[in-house]
């Protein structure tokens, strides 16, 4: 047994570098280089990364409901629409401070998600997926048809950028930094909640609702809580889009958003803390890289996605496990 012990010890030394393991260091360096490149290059890439950060916020939220709790929602874009339109209307029509409008929209989304979630979350599996899908479609139709409120297909323009009082963030690079900070805060909250009594209850439900209920976990309450958290993140993402781009229309929060965010969630690693953010960045950059293949860009993009799903089915964040020593297996008996 001694040889076994020394082996694991050596393995753990070889992947550590001053207390950090190679993967974490490598990942951090890669991200730093990527952002440095984007900052120096500027231009269109800045916009791509800004949107990646916004989608990241959305996905981190969706991960609460779909990843941690294991429930399907095809309609979280509805709350992004509430966030986007809420912030647009409050700022443009009523002259709200952007930050205040963002928070007010989140409050509206919170109330809406409780109202919608309470009856809907009695459904399970495919039925829940269908019901949430309908929610997204209804919101889309509302944003198109209710022209007195949303201006229909014309959309809302002239939404002010984020800022506090006279200080507004106009510079594209500064906007990206601001969005990064917000995403990191979102990730921090996600990690903190995942590894707590609350997060354990969610993850227990995703594995088996019966098992969770038998230990006294109020399943319906925790599902609703995860749904509301996802809605709050989605709403914040919708508002951030409005403030960053300055313009919204129904298409922004349409079916496309559902497809894109699902891709991000699965590419990055559903149910992990960092996965949604990694997925958002990768799935945003991929089409830009695929663009270099000219008229084959859609095919190239699809091919890369397929390969990722086949060879990294648990998502890119699962790569962190590769090259790490497996947890030492305790010897049984002697």
């Amino acid at each position: 047994m001694r040889s076994n012990h020394t082996m694991t010890l050596r393995a753990s030394i070889s992947t550590k570098l001053g207390g950090y393991d190679y993967f974490a260091v490598g990942g951090a360096v890669f991200i730093a280089l990527l952002f440095a490149f984007v900052f120096i290059k500027g231009g269109y890439l800045l916009t791509v990364m800004q949107l990646a950060m916004i989608y990241g916020v959305f996905c981190v939220g969706l991960n609460f409901f779909m990843g941690y709790t294991g429930q399907a929602s095809f309609g979280q874009n509805a709350f992004a629409a509430i966030g986007g339109y809420g912030t647009a209307i409050l700022c443009v029509e009523y002259g709200f401070e952007p930050m205040l409008a963002l928070l007010a929209s989140m409050a509206i989304s919170g109330v809406a998600s409780v109202t919608v979630g309470y009856p809907t979350l009695r459904l399970r599996g495919h039925y829940l997926a269908m019901a949430t899908f309908a929610l997204g479609l209804i919101t889309y139709d509302l944003s198109v048809q209710w022209t007195s409120l949303t201006q229909g297909y014309m959309g809302y323009a002239g939404i002010p950028p984020l800022g506090i009082g006279a200080f507004t963030i106009e510079d594209e690079r500064a906007k990206l930094v601001c969005l990064m900070v917000i995403l990191v805060i979102g990730l921090w909250i996600s990690g903190r909640l995942r590894n707590s009594r609350f997060g354990r209850a969610l993850r227990a439900i995703s594995a088996t609702e019966h098992g969770a209920a038998a230990l006294g976990i109020r399943v319906s309450y925790y599902k609703l809580a995860a749904f509301v958290i996802a809605a709050l993140y989605a709403s914040a993402a919708g508002s951030l889009f409005a403030h960053t781009v300055g313009f919204i229309s129904p298409e922004v929060f349409g079916l496309q958003m559902v497809v894109v965010t699902f891709t991000m969630l699965y590419v990055g690693g559903i149910g992990t803390v960092l996965g949604p953010a990694i997925g958002a960045v990768v799935a945003s950059l991929l089409p830009q890289i695929a663009r270099s293949t000219g008229r084959f860009q859609d095919i190239a993009y699809a091919l890369v996605l397929l390969l990722l799903l086949i060879y990294v089915p648990k998502g890119l964040s699962a790569l962190a496990g590769i090259g790490r020593p497996r947890p030492a297996k305790q010897a049984t008996g002697s």
């Binding site: 909250i189 903190r192 909640l193 707590s196 009594r197 609350f198 997060g199 354990r200 209850a201 993850r203 227990a204 995703s206 594995a207 088996t208 019966h210 098992g211 969770a212 209920a213 038998a214 230990l215 006294g216 976990i217 109020r218 399943v219 809580a225 958290i229 149910g271 947890p327 297996k329 305790q330 010897a331 049984t332």
Partner: protein, 257 residues
């Protein structure tokens, strides 16, 4: 006074009567078993007692309180905790985390507490962490604490489910065929754990198919057949009871037919 008092409990599925007019008293501190051949209605009985199935008629009283129509988690909160015949592990979580979930009822704090991590919450989390490992030592899984729960061999998955249920501090622990699919060695380990915790004061109600295990550890046994309770008594009485022998081995007439 009986900790669990079941009166005239009946469950009908369309035409089929799965449980018919069952009366049962489980005294506090006992190690009680319900046995019966396959399809006798044992699991139906269990599901009704633990709130996973609504009875057609009858009442269930736990510690003097009517719990007949309470939700599962409310029943668990009162101290009646069950395990499942088909193990319900929390996949994607480690062995230790599975047990930590078991402390849900014994702890508090939601989103706000998890975000702020005030000292009481940090202490509570540390406490849960430590106690989960104590329970794993108790059932003999201490060495596998950081392993993925779903990678455990079947016998150890059952022990893990017991450890998890114990974390919820049950007054009455319901074990649904805990020895199903276990080998002799694993069954012995399980029997030792059950007897230990009964000695420490937990009332245990066990559903079992395995006569040998039950007659060895149970203090009192009730026998179900075709949804009815046919008799109840000490292991020795049960082993000699003609109706039990008939239910398990078939009657002479049935054997000759």
């Amino acid at each position: 006074m009986a900790l669990l008092a079941v009166r005239n409990l009946t469950k009908r599925f369309d035409g089929l009567t799965a449980n018919s007019d069952i009366n049962l008293d489980i005294p506090e501190g006992s190690l009680f078993a319900v046995i019966g051949p396959n399809g006798a209605g044992k699991t139906t009985f269990f599901n009704m007692v633990s709130g996973f199935l609504a009875p057609t008629a009858g009442t269930i009283e736990f510690a003097g309180e009517d719990i007949t129509h309470l939700r599962q988690d409310k029943i668990a909160a009162k101290g009646l905790v069950r395990t499942f015949q088909l193990v319900q592990l929390f996949k994607g979580m480690t062995v230790a985390e599975n047990v930590e979930v078991g402390f849900h009822l014994a702890t508090e704090g939601g989103v706000g507490a998890a975000l702020m991590r005030l000292s009481w919450f940090r202490r509570q989390e540390a406490d849960v962490h430590a106690k989960a490992r104590e329970l794993l030592v108790f059932v003999g899984l201490a060495g596998q604490a950081e392993q993925d729960a779903e990678l455990l061999p079947y016998g150890q998955q059952r022990l893990l489910e017991v450890a998890r249920a114990l974390a919820a501090k049950p007054r009455l622990l319901l074990l649904d065929e805990p020895a199903a699919g276990l080998n002799a060695h694993e069954t012995d380990a399980l029997a030792a754990v059950i007897q230990d915790l009964n000695r420490q004061g937990t009332t245990v109600l066990l559903i079992e198919h395995d006569m040998a295990l039950v007659t060895r550890i149970a203090q009192r046994i009730a026998v179900l057949d075709f949804g009815c309770k046919i008799t109840e008594g000490t292991p020795d009485e049960i082993k000699r009871h003609p109706d039990v022998i008939a239910a398990y081995l078939g009657t002479e007439e049935a054997a000759n037919a």
